[in-house]
Amino acid sequence: MSLLDTILDPSRLSVRFQPVFLVRGESNQVDCLEALIRGPRRSNFERADILFDYVRRKKAEPVVDRSCVVAICDAVLNLPTEMRINVNVHAATLGHKAGFVDFFESQTKRRGLRTDRFTIEIVEHAPSCNIPELMDGITALRDLGVRIALDDVGLGQSNYRMMLDCHPEYFKLDAYFVRGLYADPKRRAVVESVATLARALGSSVVGEGVESDQDLAQLGRMGIELVQANILCPAMPFEDLVAKGIVPGEISTSPHLLQAGKSPHPQAFDLKPAELLSWAARRPS
């Protein structure tokens, strides 16, 4: 069996979740969870960067993205029903005529998952992308209540054109610009410009890869309240997030939470800062 065949078997993939935190003053809340795929266990391809590097070399993004969606939908079945989930999908997949959106809808419906819980994070590494078909895909996703995020903003294909054409609810600012932000005026200038642009376009910015308290505080001063960082919480199985008190573990069926929210952060979970910091202090160095 080739490696690609193995990857195309969703049961061989595992899913980790990393929280995106809403940091507002002394308050930290889990805004949503990004679902992150890991390859077959005990293989070199367990590492996501290696796995997806291989997938891109094979130009197999559309088929592998479907496998990932299946694995993620299965994992999401175990999550509280109000928890919002981010899923990475290649722009090449969304712009592919083979009907990713129909596939996504059928997989969520089959499991009774509400599509408006999902945010699709558009990732793109290939230089060419069929923009009209991508736009059709995004429109179809929005019709399902799905939100759109543009991943790796500032690098590669996540450029001004994609910001305009995709009109994402979220700009996920690449870690390259966030790391060392506090001490680097040039990085601050870049991040400030992205934040200003996002505000003008009606989008929110998520700072990725924060590695220091100073950079975290600096993002806050720049009005960027959504952050994703290993120093706060790395990606891990959902059960571990529950065990560490990061997210609640019980399944909630509260009727008001079943309605689609329109505010930027309608279903955030409260997490006491002390609990978060306490856990973060215990994280492996």
Binding site: L3, N44, I50, D53, Y54, R57, K58
Partner: protein
């Protein structure tokens, strides 16, 4: 730290046999069955020795292109080509890309260990 070795062969059983043997000798061994898989591993890891078949991924001599690729990445990596084709022209082309050893199939595991060992200081 154990030297890292990459084995590239689209016959999984052969690659597994090499891996099991070389691992037992204390090497850290990865396997790839196709060109893209090998290129991915080469992009992320540094290998002391690469052992590659020439016929890969249903391409008649896909391994030869891979040899060129490995040389572009590193001049230090030692390359051992293992193949059932013993043609002089093929050997000449492989040699032009600074292949360090050319071994005909079938290869005895003891011979493989000796060849690898000559590049890792274990001979």
């Amino acid at each position: 730290m154990a030297e890292k070795i990459l084995i590239i062969d689209d016959e999984e059983q052969i690659a597994d046999a090499y891996k099991e043997f070389l691992t037992s000798l204390g090497y850290q061994v990865d396997c790839a069955q196709e060109v893209e898989e090998a290129e991915t591993l080469l992009a992320h890891f540094s290998y002391s020795v690469v052992i590659t078949d020439l016929r890969l991924s249903k391409l008649e001599f896909g391994g030869l292109n891979l040899v060129k690729h490995i040389r572009e990445l590193s001049l230090k990596t030692r390359i051992i080509v293992v193949t059932g084709y013993g043609w002089p022209e093929l050997k000449a082309e492989a040699s032009a890309h600074q292949v360090d050893a050319f071994v005909n199939k079938p290869i005895r595991l003891s011979e493989l260990a000796k060849t690898v060992g000559s590049f890792t200081g274990r001979a």
